[in-house]
Amino acid sequence: MRRYIIKRIILAFATIFVVMTATFFLMHAIPGTPFSGNNDSMSAETLAVLMEKYGMDKPLYKQYLTYVWNILHGDFGVSMSNGYRSVTEIILTAFPVSADLGIRALIFGTIAGILLGIEAALHRNKPIDHISTITAIIGISIPSFVLGTILQTILGLGLSGWVKATFHTDYQLFPIARWQSFRYTIIPSFVLGMGTVASLARLMRTSMLDVINQDYIRTAKAKGISRQQIIWKHEVRNAMMPVITVLGRMIGGVVTGSYIIESQFAIPGLGKYLVNSITARDYTMTMGLTVFYSIFIVFSMLLVDLLYSVIDPRVRLAK
């Protein structure tokens, strides 16, 4: 067990090291300097002063060491497009919003996906099974921003238009932009969680069907245990194992999926900053956020995998 944990932690650090290094050299592969953008009239002297100020006249390996050193101290550099605020400061204000959205989407996606999968497996080839399959297919085949657009129009604009016409108030049940009260969170969390619902429902169904045919389920039935107890204590608990394995990966999916949702719903989270930094060609911001995201995802995956080894005794024995 200890060897496994140590191995995983070393791997996590190796991953972050690869990401940091790759990001650094990609950043330096861009032709020109960060200052050569709009003002071509800049004199060679000014450029030299700027280069010196930002340490860009030093040899590459020294710059690399400074960069790694700064990231280890939580300093991701200065954003070029957000009034020269530091990237770290932006992360600190925007990350809680993204985390909020991500957690809501994950909770909705996991619960709905697992329940749908269980019901589909228990009523194989019945209507609920087909509904589950169709949901999974929609979740896979419609991109989130398309689903978002449709829901924004129908539930957001359509509904508030109807409310206005009928009750003469400006009350919006499902506002389509910003992040304020619970009402604001419903559509974005639903759209972001849809992918999780789709893949988990499929996985849980297969896993349940696998468990239902096991010998120990027959034993449990023969012992006269009630149906409800067999389902929840024997079948679901065992079928959950493969689902928990992918949960770590799901976090990555939800986090990366939120870039699109946040920019679509004008939610002031990290994803929106990432998308804006791409369009504004704010390289330090894009790179800084990428490194931050990778560190976050690597460690959350590590945490989920370690939890998994606590839940499943077989993992402990294996390594």
């Binding site: 690869v18 896979i140 921003f145």
Partner: protein
């Protein structure tokens, strides 16, 4: 004794009772037959073939996907423009055909590169085993922890936008899933007797890998390939929405969806034409993949 008369004993002709009436079929014949009987998979296959034909021949028949007409912008579907025009007066139908070519090309090329790289990497790791396998798998572990979307965003921010860069960014970490799958297959297959027999008969390592092990692992590989193409097409759509994918005037399903959702709901045709085609294509690839999985796995046949 009256009863006995009602029944006549069956003649005990051993030859006749053991005769095989149905022709025995090989594995590949069985696969084809199961697939042909699966209506959903066949409809999907026909639809995909149709899309491929459109992608190849369509842009030749309708080449003017870039032609703007500022006098007729955002016109709803009519006789001249079956699917209407976009905000610069370009014909949506023509662009949709061009977009089909772009999107399918990205999906097929990217995933074929992933297929080749993944098969070679996984095959070599699984076949060498031991230390080499261990090192190769640690490299995969590291690459796998990096979210693919972030890699793509990084690559596309730094490099010149366009189809080649998009394909490159889809393949940088895209082959990993297949490499792991192939390695697992090879590890279990090389323990089989026929691998040993080939070795005893003097076949080289390379020959055993290429002529015995990889062909036997082909089933799951095909399924994975089919299912990963919609993934690549979907990734293009997402990246185009972020402004990183294919930029206009070139057409792709992704940037058409993006253009459509920016004019939604005022110009519905601009949104629904690509959305419906995109969803149908994703559906067809996924359902064909499901059908192939069932057909290739003898246990799933009924």
């Amino acid at each position: 004794m009256e009863m006995v008369k009602d029944f006549t004993p069956v003649p005990r002709d051993l030859e006749a009772s053991q005769k095989i009436y149905r022709k025995s079929i090989s594995y590949s014949q069985g696969v084809v037959r199961t697939l042909l009987q699966n209506k959903v998979a066949m409809v999907s296959l026909v639809f995909i073939l149709f899309l491929i034909v459109v992608a190849i021949a369509g842009p030749i028949a309708f080449p003017d996907y870039e032609k703007t007409d500022l006098l007729h912008t955002l016109t709803p579907p009519s006789k001249e423009h079956i699917l209407g025009t976009d905000e610069l007066g370009r014909d949506v139908f023509t662009r949709l055909i061009r977009g089909t070519r772009t999107s399918l090309m990205i999906g097929f090329i990217a995933e074929t590169i992933n297929l080749v790289v993944g098969m070679l990497y996984g095959g070599i790791a699984g076949f060498l085993g031991g230390k080499a396998d261990n090192i190769m798998m640690r490299i995969i572990d590291i690459l796998m922890s990096i979210p693919q979307m972030l890699v793509m965003i990084l690559m596309l921010t730094v490099l010149k936008k366009g189809i080649p860069t998009l394909i490159l960014s889809l393949t940088i970490t895209g082959w990993i899933g297949l490499a792991r799958l192939v390695r697992g297959q090879i590890l279990s297959l090389r323990e089989n007797e026929y691998a040993l027999a080939a070795k005893v008969l003097g076949a080289g390592k390379k020959e055993i890998l290429l002529t015995h092990l990889l062909p036997n692992a082909i089933g799951p590989i095909i399924v994975n390939y089919t299912m990963s193409i919609p993934g690549a097409i979907g990734a293009e759509a997402g990246l185009s929405y972020l402004g990183l994918g294919i930029s206009v005037p070139e057409a792709s399903w992704g940037n058409m969806l993006q253009a459509g959702s920016s004019q939604f709901p005022a110009s519905l045709w601009l949104f629904f034409a690509p959305a419906v085609l995109f969803a149908l294509a994703m559906l067809a690839f996924n359902l064909l993949g499901d059908g192939l999985r069932d057909a290739l796995d003898p246990k799933m046949r009924r």
